[in-house]
Amino acid sequence: MEVLHNLSLGFDQALTASNLGYCAIGCVLGTLVGLLPGLGPLATISLLLPLTYSIPTNGAIIMLAGIYYGAQYGDSVSAITMKMPHASGIVACIDVYKMTLKGQTGLALFTAGLSSFIGGTVAIVVLALLAPSLGQVAFLFGPADYCALMLLGFFCVSVVTTGSLLNGVAMCLVGVLVGTVGTDLESGVQRFTFGLPALADGISVVSVALGCFGIAELTKNLDNREERTPFNGAIRLRPSLAEFKRILPSAFRGSVVGSILGILPGGGPVIAQFVAYGLDKKVSKYRNEIGAGAIEGVAGQAAADEAAARTSFIPLMSIGIPENAVMALMMAAFIIKGVQPGPTMIAQHPDLFWGLVASMWVGNCFLLLLNVPLVRIWLSVFKVPYSVLFPAILFFCCIGTFSINNDIDDVITTGAFGIFGYVLMRLGFDPAPLMLGYVLGPMLEEYFRRAMVLSHGSLTTFVEEPISATLLAVTTLLVIATAISAFRGRAAVRALGLSAFEPEKTAH
C-alpha cells in the first residue's frame, strides 16, 4: 500500500504540465541526438546536460532521464534502419537489420518500441518495490565497504564495457586521477593545478564528458570519412495478430533479464541485451529463426535494454554508487542540481525520487506514442549531411561548456579532453570507465581516508569488515575468472554467433 501511496505522490509530480513538458522535450531531443551517427547515450547526455541548468531540480532530473531513454531508443532506431549502432543498439543490429533487409523495417521498429515499453514498465515496478529497501541496506555500509563496492564496480564495468579488464581498470584509475585535480577539501592544498585558477575548482564533468565523448567521437567519425545514404525504405508499422503474439513472451523474458542485470554492479543495457538475446536463442519457440531476422531476436533484447536502463537507477538512488558510466554522468547531474543520490535521497527528496520513478513510465508512454508513429520524421535527421551536422555539434559542445561558468576559457579544457579522449580511443582504450573513475574518484578518496582514520591507518580493515571482505572476495574471483576466460578465448561470444561484434565496439 505504501508503494501505491508513494507512486501516487510521484504521479502528482510527474503529471504537472511543466514536468510533462520537460519529459516530452527530453525524450524527443534524446531520440533526435541519439539517432546521430556515433552519438550514444553517454555523448547525448553530455551534449544536452547544460540545457537543464536553468530548469528547476525536479524538472531537470525528469528531463535528463527522458534524454537518456530517448537516446537509447534513438540508438535502436539507427541500428534498425541503418545498421549504425553506437552501444545500446549493438545486439539489435543482428536480427533487426536482417528484418530491414527483408522489408520488415516497420515491424522491427514496432517490436522494438512495444518491447521497450513492456521492459520499461516491468522495470519501474521492480524499481518502486526494491529501491527503498535497498536504501535501508545501504545504511549498513561503512567507509571500507563503500571503497570495496566502488572497486567491485570498477572491475565489473571494465569487464563488461571494454572486454579487457586491464585496460578498463587502467582507464578507471586515470579517471580517479583526473578527479583529484583541484583543491583538496581537507587540507586546502591545490593539486595538479599548476597555478591555473581555472583548475582550482577541479575539472568540470561537462568538460570531461563533452571532450572525451563529444569531440573525440566526432573526430573519430570524421576519420572514417563515410558518406551515409539516408534511409528511404517503406515503413509498415501495423503488425498482424500472429506477429503481435510472438512479441509478448520474448519481451517479458527480456524484461525480467534486464531488470535483474540492470541492478548488478557493472550491469546495464549492453550486457542485458546480450544475455536476453542468448536466452531467447536457447528457450524461444522460434529459436531456429533467431539470427536470420526473427521477431524474438528483436523483442527480447529491446525489452532487456530498456528494463536495464531503468533498473540501473536503483544502485545510484538507493546506495549512491553509480554502476556504469551513464549513471556516473547522471550522478554528476544530480549533484549539480544540489541532490546527493544515496540512502537519504528517498527520505530527503521523496517528491523528486517518486516523481522520477513515475516520470519513467510517462517517458515510456511518450516513447511509444510519439516516437513509434513519428519515426519517419525522426529518420529525416539522416538526410542532413554530416558536413553540416558536425560543425553544429562542435558549436553546441562550446556553448555547453561555456554555460557552466560563463567562461569561454573552459572550452580550452574541453578541447584538451577532446584530444586526450581521441588519443585514448585510437590507442584502443575505452573512455567510458574513465568517466566512472572520474565521478567516483573524489568519493573513493573520501571514504578511503575515512576508513584509514577509523582503523588508525591499518589496511587490514578492508578484510576485517564482513561486507568489505565479501565484496573484495567477489572482486578477486572476478579477476581470476576473467584471467581464465581470457586464456580460453571468447567461446561464449562465438557460441552466440556474435563474433563480428568485438567487445571494443560495445563500449559506452
Binding site: 536553468s54 586491464l166 585496460n167 581498470v169 587502467a170 584509475l173 586515470v174 580517479v176 586521477l177 583529484t180 583538496d184 581537507e186 587540507s187 592544498v189 593539486r191 595538479f192 569531440i215 566526432l218 573526430t219 570524421l222 576519420d223 570519412r225 558518406e227 554530416y386 558536413s387 553540416v388 558536425f390 560543425p391 553544429a392 562542435l394 558549436f395 562550446c398 556553448i399 561555456f402 554555460s403 560563463n406 569561454i408 576559457d409 572550452v411 580550452i412 574541453t414 578541447g415 577532446g418 584530444i419 581521441y422 588519443v423 585514448l424 585510437r426 590507442l427 584502443g428 582504450f429 578518496e445 578511503f448 581516508r449 584509514m452 582514520v453 588508525h456 591507518g457 591499518s458 589496511l459
Partner: protein, 142 residues
C-alpha cells in the same frame, strides 16, 4: 619511422600518465595512512596505474597487438577550430568565433563548400543570438 604496436603504446601511455601524477604527488605532503596528506591518495592510485602499465608492457612482449594508424590531421583541425573560436570570442565577438569555427572545422569533412559553410555559420549565429536574448546566456554574440 615505424610506430610501435598497440599494446606497447598502451603500456607507454599508461606509464607516462602514472609517472606524471606520481612525480607531482610527491611535491605535496603525503602524511601517513592514519593521517593522509594531500599527495598520498593520488600517489597510491598512480603507483597502481604504473603497475598496470608494467603488466601491459610485459603483455606486449607476447601479444604486441596490431599496428596503429594515428591520423593527426582531423583532431588537429578540430583543435585549431576550437582555439580560433575561443580567441575570437574573447577578443572580437562570438559571431566571428562561430564563423572561424565552421570554416576551419569543415576542412576536416569530405567536401568543402563556402556557400554551405556561410549558411551553417549564419544559422549557428542565429541560435547563439537566441540563447543570448531569450535564455539570457551572456554570450556577447555581436
Amino acid at each position: 619511422m615505424k610506430m610501435p604496436r598497440k599494446t606497447v603504446l598502451q603500456g607507454l601511455a599508461l606509464a607516462v600518465i602514472g609517472l606524471f601524477f606520481a612525480l607531482n604527488s610527491l611535491s605535496y605532503p603525503t602524511g601517513s595512512f592514519a593521517h593522509f596528506g594531500p599527495g598520498r591518495f593520488p600517489l597510491i592510485v598512480s603507483i597502481a596505474l604504473l603497475g598496470l602499465a608494467a603488466i601491459t608492457l610485459v603483455k606486449s612482449r607476447f601479444d604486441p597487438g596490431e599496428q596503429i594508424h594515428l591520423t593527426v590531421r582531423n583532431i588537429a583541425i578540430v583543435a585549431l577550430a576550437l582555439g580560433a573560436f575561443v580567441v575570437l570570442s574573447k577578443w572580437v565577438d562570438m559571431a566571428s568565433g562561430v564563423v572561424a569555427l565552421v570554416f576551419i572545422a569543415t576542412t576536416a569533412g569530405v567536401s568543402y563548400s563556402w556557400t554551405r559553410n556561410g549558411l551553417v555559420a549564419a544559422g549557428l549565429i542565429a541560435v547563439a543570438l537566441a540563447f543570448e536574448k531569450l535564455l539570457g546566456l551572456p554570450l556577447q554574440v555581436i
